[in-house]
């Protein structure tokens, strides 16, 4: 039986500290006094790159610059310098800046950021962020080359965040299809992991997910959240005959309309009305 990988007291305390740190960093961002035009971009870059500046000022400079990227082409003139600044920030002592920079770079498929993240996954002593966060950043690019390491981490890690993010990366990896199907069916897995497996399988093999959904709904020993996930998948994405043509399923949905939690009753009624059961 796999250990419960939900949040333990240790991980909760770690999360609380991290959140407090982040909150204090950006709660009140001060206004910067910047000139007009592209000189403002350059001055913001200078503030951002200056380790002597306070964190709130650096965060505000970063916020202003990233907001300015939405006004191409004026920003194009400083884009190279901005990317250089972000790459430098990836190694900044301030975790909030590291994360922001990695996020912006990863979403732009920056090779430097991807290589750094992969190195951190292979050699944890060089990791700049947690494995779960690293996988989340790498998931933006199917060509980042994270599939095999995602599969390994999914098998070996006890951290549910890591496993959840690994599943997201594996959703673009046909070689992981069987592993995902097995995880989805495994009652020993936490509900959140099984739910993410459902989403991942949906991406790779929608038919397989629908097959699982029927079994899950008919299985009265499945947790309610899992049944709800299966019902939602069927209600949204299944063809009508799969539901209306299955007598056992119709009967089960009929039972759910009168028994179970309010959420399940509403869902069952919705399916009944939609498919005219």
């Amino acid at each position: 039986m796999r250990k419960n990988t939900r949040r333990t007291p240790t991980t909760r305390a770690r999360d609380r500290r991290a959140r407090a740190s982040r909150t204090s960093a950006i709660d009140k961002l001060p206004a910067l006094e910047l000139p007009t035009g592209t000189r403002a971009h350059r001055q913001a870059l200078a503030i951002l790159g200056n380790g002597e500046e306070t964190l709130p000022r650096r965060m505000e400079a970063l916020r202003v610059l990233q907001a300015a990227t939405f006004a191409e082409p004026q920003f194009d003139a400083v884009r190279a310098d901005y990317i250089a600044a972000l790459r430098k920030l990836v190694h900044d002592p301030e975790p909030e800046l590291r994360h922001r920079a990695l996020g912006f770079l990863s979403r732009g498929h920056d090779d430097y950021a991807q290589a750094t993240l992969l190195e951190g996954l292979r050699h944890p002593d060089k990791a700049l962020v947690s494995p779960g966060d690293a996988l989340a950043y790498l998931s933006y690019n199917a060509h980042a080359g994270a599939q095999s390491i995602a599969r390994s981490l999914f098998k070996e890690s006890k951290d549910h965040v890591v496993r959840e993010q690994a599943l997201r990366v594996m959703a673009s990896d046909p070689a992981a299809r069987r592993m995902i199907r097995t995880t989805l069916a495994d009652r020993n897995e936490p509900v959140s992991i099984r739910q993410m497996s459902a989403a991942a399988l949906h991406a790779l093999d929608p038919q397989a997910l629908q097959d699982w959904a029927v079994k899950a709904v008919l299985d009265k020993t499945e947790p309610e959240d899992i049944v709800a996930t299966g019902l939602t998948a069927m209600n949204q994405f299944s063809d009508a005959t799969r539901i209306s043509g299955n007598a056992a399923l119709r009967k089960r949905i009929g039972e759910m309309r009168t028994k179970g939690s309010g959420v399940m009753k509403r869902l069952a009624k919705s399916i009944t009305a939609k498919h005219k059961l």
Partner: protein, 421 residues
């Protein structure tokens, strides 16, 4: 005697949706039994149905209208025209029933049901409206295999020059949001795109029942928490499933970055010029605050970068609000007529192609020859059974008179709850 009443001059049920704009209707006799003379006088009344809402009637597309209306309808089946417009919005479909009665008679001779379908503040949606919207969004996304992929694949770096940094920014995004809204309405005609009023608190938007809850001040790696019955948990718009979004502010309050609406509306001054107003797009120094770009970066996740922003459904709520602000400004300053110079920013030499009034807009024009991008996903702009504007290949100029103020046929088929006609 029987009459047939058509909304938007169409017999189709999918055309029975109105906004604040004057909507052309017609009525004709289908069974003249009991009519003496060449015509019958019909009185039109309205009744609120389950979805609620109310309308006004008029002989012409002008004035305030009245709660009821009487008109003469020829016996021979020729149509008689009248107009209606929404006054209060419906929350479900159908919302309002129009009943026709022959003057002096109690029995109805014809009815038609319709919905006053309005773009609303997302925080004011009823649970039913919310659930229908997200179910429709999820179906349109269809785990990444649906046509939503065209929208996510259009708002990327390679196409961004068509939509950003130049005067076409607002018209382009108006067409983009409208295109999505119409695609959703093809699945469920009762939905309208709501807006995220980001300069005000919107806590109910970022809940597991709606667009999901991220981690406050999280690093932008959190897959938002969604309830087990929320179909958005199967959302996929990039390589990986799920919606990743962490707020950089406490969502119990307003996003701190963007300007307030009142301040943003003054950006066009002096002179209420479009060329100044469109600076809501990106930061203006030394204030370094803007309306649009700051909203994008108030969250960490795909929404904060141009290449990935449209992967998050929140993008459309955000841009619906940006468009609403433009609509508010247009209403305040009377900027619906593109022939008025202040309504746009036409320059000599002309702006880059795609940013002049007479230019068709990519991707709907299907042009893939340089300097346009070499791809154009999704085909033409979705058509509406209710209105004909802005057409399948809209020009920049087609996206200004969205309620048909200057010319009724310019009506694009949407209105905002707080922007009257």
């Amino acid at each position: 005697m029987r009459v047939e009443i058509e909304i938007n001059n169409s017999p189709l049920a999918v055309a029975r949706y109105v906004t604040w704009a004057w909507t052309p209707c017609r009525i004709r006799v289908t069974d003249p039994a009991g009519i003496t003379g060449n015509q019958a006088t019909i009185r039109l009344d309205q009744t609120a149905l389950g979805g609620g809402g109310s309308i006004r009637f008029a002989n012409a597309a002008a004035g305030t209208g009245a709660a009821t209306h009487s008109l003469s309808v020829p016996r021979d089946g020729t149509s008689a025209a009248f107009f209606i417009r929404g006054i209060t919005a419906s929350t479900a479909d159908p919302g309002v029933q129009i009943t026709g009665r022959q003057t002096g008679a109690a029995a109805p001779v014809g009815t038609v049901s319709l919905m006053v379908r309005i773009r609303k503040d997302a925080t004011t949606l009823s649970n039913g409206e919310r659930d229908r919207l997200i179910a429709t969004l999820a179906q349109f996304n269809n785990q990444g295999l649906g046509r939503f992929a065209d929208f996510a694949g259009t708002h990327v770096s390679a196409g961004s020059v068509e939509a950003h940094g130049r005067p076409g920014f607002l018209p382009w995004h108006r067409a983009f949001v409208l295109d999505l809204e119409r695609e959703l309405q093809a699945i469920d005609p009762s939905v309208a795109m709501p807006y995220w009023r980001f300069d005000r608190p919107a806590p109910s938007l970022f809940t597991p029942q709606f667009l999901g809850r991220g981690t406050l001040n999280g690093p932008g790696t959190t897959t938002v928490t969604l309830s087990a019955t929320n179909p958005l948990r199967f959302w996929k718009a990039g390589p990986a499933p799920g919606i990743t979004r962490d707020p950089n502010f406490n969502v119990a309050g307003a996003a701190p970055g963007p300007l307030s609406q009142a301040t943003a509306l003054t950006l066009g001054n002096p002179g209420a010029l479009f060329r100044n107003f469109r600076r809501i797009e990106s930061p203006i120094f030394p204030a370094q605050r803007d309306y649009h770009g700051s909203a994008h970066v108030s969250f960490s996740g795909p929404i904060d970068s141009i290449p990935t922003a449209a992967q998050d459904p929140l993008f459309f709520f955000l841009h619906c609000n940006v468009d609403r602000l433009w609509a508010v400004w247009q209403k305040q300053q009377g900027r619906f007529d593109v022939t008025v110079a202040a309504a746009f920013e036409s320059v000599t030499p002309p702006n880059r192609v795609g940013h002049n009034l007479g230019d068709t807009m990519w991707p709907w024009n299907g042009v893939t020859i340089p300097p346009r991008p070499n791809f154009a996903l999704g085909g033409t702009l979705a058509l509406s059974p209710c209105v004909s504007a802005p057409g399948p290949k809209p020009k920049v100029s087609d996206c200004f008179d969205y309620q048909g103020v200057v010319q009724l046929s310019n009506n694009m088929g949407f209105s905002y709850d707080d922007v009257p006609l």
